[in-house]
Symmetry: C2
Subunit: 211 residues, 2 copies
């Protein structure tokens, strides 16, 4: 086949198929050949739409970031807004666990990544936080979100209690087993979110003493 009168591919179709492949069969299954085969074309055809595989992955990542709800930012009081935004952020990652390692590599340079960072930064500044602090708080929340996502979705502890009870009796008692890892990370995320926002509220009060 040569050039078809109607293109078989476009960026959106490729990104959608790539995300489905990663969600369904894991990151390792995403090879240019596999992806192209699923789209009914041959491997190198993808390179007419993306310069490299990395650029393709970038676009996939940005699609996922577009799923994060930002509507509470600038609308609700900052502590609640920050909490709900972080939960929505985490939920977006949880919907695509196989992609988390890719998402974790840097804040991203694409439209949705920037929209995300701009929204939370703006909401904090508008609420009265100094710019420097707002930047740091935005970064901080990302750490919490990605840390808990990485722990949960990327391996974790072996599911064999004996491995631990043998040499690390206290760890064994901590229920650090694979079956519980997800629950632990969700609990740690919520604990951290609450403690962090409480700690930040103390700091905010020192910054803006009430009367």
């Amino acid at each position: 086949m040569a050039r078809p009168r109607n293109p078989l591919l476009n960026r959106e179709r490729i990104v959608t198929a790539a995300l489905e492949l990663v969600d369904g069969e894991g990151l390792a299954a995403l090879s240019t050949r596999r992806l192209a085969a699923g789209l009914g074309v041959s491997g190198p055809s993808l390179y007419n739409h993306f310069p490299t595989k990395d650029a393709l992955l970038d676009a996939v990542v940005d699609t996922v970031l577009g799923e994060v709800d930002l509507s509470m930012l600038g609308r609700d009081p900052w502590p609640e807004a920050l909490r709900d935004w972080a939960r929505s952020y985490r939920a977006a990652l949880a919907a695509h666990p196989n992609l988390v390692p890719v998402l974790a590599h840097g804040p991203g340079r694409r439209a949705n990544a920037l929209r995300l960072a701009d929204a939370v930064f703006g909401a904090l500044v508008d609420a009265g936080w100094p710019r420097g602090e707002a930047t740091r708080i935005g970064a901080l929340m990302r750490y919490l979100v990605f840390g808990s996502a990485l722990g949960s979705f990327a391996g974790g502890f072996v599911d064999d209690q004996q491995v631990y009870t043998a040499d690390y009796p206290r760890l064994g008692q901590a229920h650090l087993l694979a079956e519980h890892q997800r629950a632990i990370d969700e609990g740690a995320f919520e604990t951290g979110l609450a403690a962090l926002i409480e700690g930040l509220a103390l700091r905010f009060e020192r910054l803006h003493p009430a009367v």
Copy 2:
């Protein structure tokens, strides 16, 4: 050459060379051929000492985790111990930035990873934290450490202010540029550490009311 009378390779020599290669030339430079060449042997020889490349990377990761200082745990009061431990943890990652993406994938199943988790868990329990809370706090601190390491060492924002000021004026003002990313992550780490420990101290006081 066939079997040399004195083995050319052993696990320690391989791990050391792999870490040097990753530190010096990045993760992508670590191929079995490159590594073997640097050790004066041919590629497949490594498989006499490690079953897969992943197992090798696992061993490298564990070596780095062995550099984390644990001496303050169980010695100092828990808030200070937690803070200093987190800083030592972060410093160990900062010493091997190219390895951070690998380190971030799960808590690890090797001796030093378990020693680390056991030490912090034990110290918190001994200080009076319930087991469940101690587990969550340990996880939480890892999120902070890895999140700030990933942000700093794994790409970050493009170093072109115009990209931001055009469509995201508030972000531009936030100094979210590559040259500042490292400082931001260090600041966010310290801010988060302080706020988190303050928030946890409040929680601890509710748990153990003073008099």
